[in-house]
Amino acid sequence: MDISTIQRDGVTVIGLPCNLDGTTSNEAQEKIMPLLVKECCVVLDLGQCDYISSAGLRVLLMMAKSLGASGGKLGLCGVSSEIRDIMDMTGFLDFFKIYDTVDGAVEGTLKEKKC
């Protein structure tokens, strides 16, 4: 799995190239978690992700928890309506800040950090 990472205004933008399910979540977790340094801001772009399973939700939750514990911030963008529904039904929607675009997510995450 080739995840993309770019730096925008001090925010690490991570792009996932695929769905986040039982077959991909482990590898995604292994590649993403080391990028979450203390107090960093991270945007996860799910624009190429059509489906997320419970394993995938777990990866997102781990990211949120890890960043929360270290004083960092996480924003999501490119979240499809299907994924948003899954997150809503499982009660996890409130755990995340969701933005419409990468630019919006970068700006929003930085603002959150400053607050």
Partner: protein, 607 residues
């Protein structure tokens, strides 16, 4: 210590030794043999045994006739200072017996009526009545009189416990409104409180949801202080309590699927494969019992995670299925308790909290080095049940030991009833174990005492246990039944007067929800009828077509000594049905495409 020459009110529980009608004084001997002289006044009145929904039972007119030797009574009155001592004047006499050795709670339907009354109270409180049972309006918090509180919280466990109460009442009465409430609740749990982890192929249950009109906000990890931000084992265990009891009545395969996948959660994530037993908590995200995020709950085991499987769902699951793997699970639970819980070198109370290597955790939260009286009694009760499945001397020995010890440290020998949380060890110079917070008595702990001694007597036949069973049930029935608003009180003061402050005022809360009160009713009626008084007991079922494996309905009411009970008669929709195995306690169900009502009459065999 200051001079005790002041008056104070209290209750004395004891047996009449003599009665001087002229002087209006009688002798009253407590359980532990201390004798008091009790004076009757011109204002003393008396009340007799009274079940829920029965009218006031006045015994004032027959008070003299009832004060015969060995009559068990509660004398509620005032101690007045007199010289260097006190004299006691009774204001109220409470007679748990109708006549000498005739306890009304040993009637063949006393507890059935009580269960019905409690279940109807909760149906009215939660749903406004049986006509339209809709769990979207259910609320965990109920006031003393049964009004739903404004808090939006619906806790999974309190719904499951309510379902248990409803299903159990259906088993006892066959009245459909109770099964309807149980089934609708089970469906509601499945639709709203269940998390199906498709990758791990397991199920776990949300702590609860907050309902705001049609919107619901799921609460994933526990928000209860003891378990904050973790998934506690006991919440997952009790999520199964109601559905499993419902399954006993209806054989719904969807319930069995949920049960199996939840047990998979237990075995894959809570089980300590190295040291044995089940961890008490796992991290809600990583499902790891050793996650640092769990804090004081990290890599711990406790009574709830180790022993509560049996009474909460596992015994009922075994009774419903006869599956050997559940029998093995029960036996391993009992083995674990017998191996790790006794700590009699240091304390008359068992140890309840452990690190993963079974070393004792005596510094956790509120528990510290304290014992819960009700947990000790619960262990005795459940060891005796499991012993009837797999007879082991160590089960009986420990149950008997607990049964012998608890009256000396956990029972109120002055007033009756069972205490709450006590310090496990006495400090230097102390002569009795201290109460952790208070000497109030909780309804669920009375249940454990009643059932422990009922089954100890029923199986082992020692009359000392019968005495304790009777005294425990007498205290509960005399002081815990709320004849004004219905159901039972959460707590009473040491003298039996209801305690109505804070959460202990409520009839619905995180702690109370028609589970213990109705479990007590169901099992008391089973033990009394089938083990003590040798009366028949009717149970009811309403199976889904082809729900139970092989269309075989298993009707053993509880795990009782093998061969002690048999089926006498069966009816299907009120018509006699002959296709049953009396000794093995199974009924071969008719091949029909609707849900028949099955009534089974169980009788003791005399063995």
């Amino acid at each position: 210590m200051g001079n005790m020459n002041f008056e104070f009110s209290d209750t004395i529980a004891g047996y009449v030794t003599k009665f001087d009608k002229e002087k209006r004084v009688f002798g009253l001997k407590t359980y532990d043999g201390r004798e008091f002289s009790v004076k009757l006044t011109s204002n003393t009145f008396a009340k007799g045994p009274r079940n829920l929904e029965e009218p006031w039972c006045d015994y004032t007119g027959k008070m003299d006739a009832m004060l015969v030797k060995d009559q068990f009574i509660y004398a509620v009155g005032i101690f007045y200072p007199k010289k260097d001592n006190h004299e006691f004047e009774a204001k109220v006499l409470v007679f748990p017996e109708k006549e000498l050795n005739d306890y009304r709670f040993e009637e063949p339907d006393w507890w059935i009526k009580q269960a019905r009354s409690i279940a109807d109270f909760y149906i009215k409180a939660q749903f406004g009545g049986p006509a339209n049972i809709d769990y979207s309006i259910y609320r965990t918090m109920l006031s003393l009189s049964g009004e739903r509180k404004a808090e939006p919280r619906q806790e999974t466990d309190t719904i499951s416990r309510l379902i248990y109460g409803m299903a159990s009442t259906f088993l006892l009465t066959g009245e459909d409104r109770f099964l309807d409430a149980a089934e609708r609740g089970t469906q509601y749990l499945r639709d709203h409180m269940r998390f199906y982890d498709t990758d791990e192929n397991i199920i776990y249950w949300y702590h609860g949801i907050d309902r705001h009109g049609d919107k619901e906000h799921k609460v994933f990890a526990s928000e209860f202080g003891d378990d904050y931000d973790g998934i506690p084992m006991y919440e997952q265990i009790y999520a199964l309590a109601g559905p499993t009891q419902t399954y006993r009545a209806n054989g719904d395969p969807a319930i069995m699927k949920d049960i199996k996948m939840t047990i998979d959660l237990f075995d894959r994530f809570f089980l300590d494969k190295k040291n044995g037993g089940y961890f008490s908590h796992i991290d809600p995200v990583t499902l790891d019992p050793r996650a640092e995020s769990l804090g004081r709950n990290r890599a711990r085991k406790n009574w709830n995670s180790l022993g509560d499987h049996a009474p909460a769902y596992l015994i009922n699951l075994w009774l419903a299925t006869g599956d050997p793997k559940y029998r093995d699970f029960l036996v391993s639970t009992a083995d674990c308790i017998v191996k790790y819980f006794p700590d009699y070198e240091h304390s008359p109370f068992v140890q309840e909290k452990f690190h993963e290597d079974w070393s004792h955790d005596k510094t956790w939260g509120w528990q510290q080095n304290r014992g819960v009286v009700g947990h000790n009694l619960k262990i005795a009760w459940n060891l005796m049940r499991i012993n009837s499945l797999e007879g082991k001397k160590e089960y009986v020995d420990l149950a008997n030991k607990i049964g012998g010890i608890m009256p000396t440290v956990g029972m109120d020998v002055q007033r009756g009833g069972w205490y709450d949380v006590m310090e496990r060890e006495m400090a230097k110079g102390e002569e009795c174990h201290r109460f952790a917070w208070h000497d109030r008595k909780a309804w669920w702990q009375q249940e454990q005492g009643i059932l422990a001694y009922q089954i100890l007597y029923g199986v082992l036949k020692d009359p000392k246990n019968q005495q304790l069973a009777r005294e425990s049930a007498a205290f509960y029935n005399s002081f815990f039944l709320d004849h004004d608003d219905g159901a039972v009180y959460f707590n009473v003061l040491n003298n039996g007067i209801p305690f109505l402050l804070g959460n202990e005022r409520l009839k619905g809360s995180h702690s109370m929800s028609a589970y213990h009160s109705i479990e007590l009713c169901y099992l008391s009626q089973v033990y009394i009828n089938l083990l003590h008084t040798k009366q028949p007991l009717d149970l009811y079922f309403k199976p889904w077509p082809r729900g139970f494996d092989g269309s075989t309905l298993r009707v053993e009411p509880d795990i009782l000594p093998k061969g002690s009970v048999k089926i006498d008669q069966v009816w299907v929709d009120n018509n006699p049905w002959k296709n049953f195995d009396a000794a093995n306690l199974t009924v071969q169900l008719p091949n029909v495409d609707y849900r028949p009502k099955i009534k089974v009459r169980l009788v003791p065999t005399g063995k």
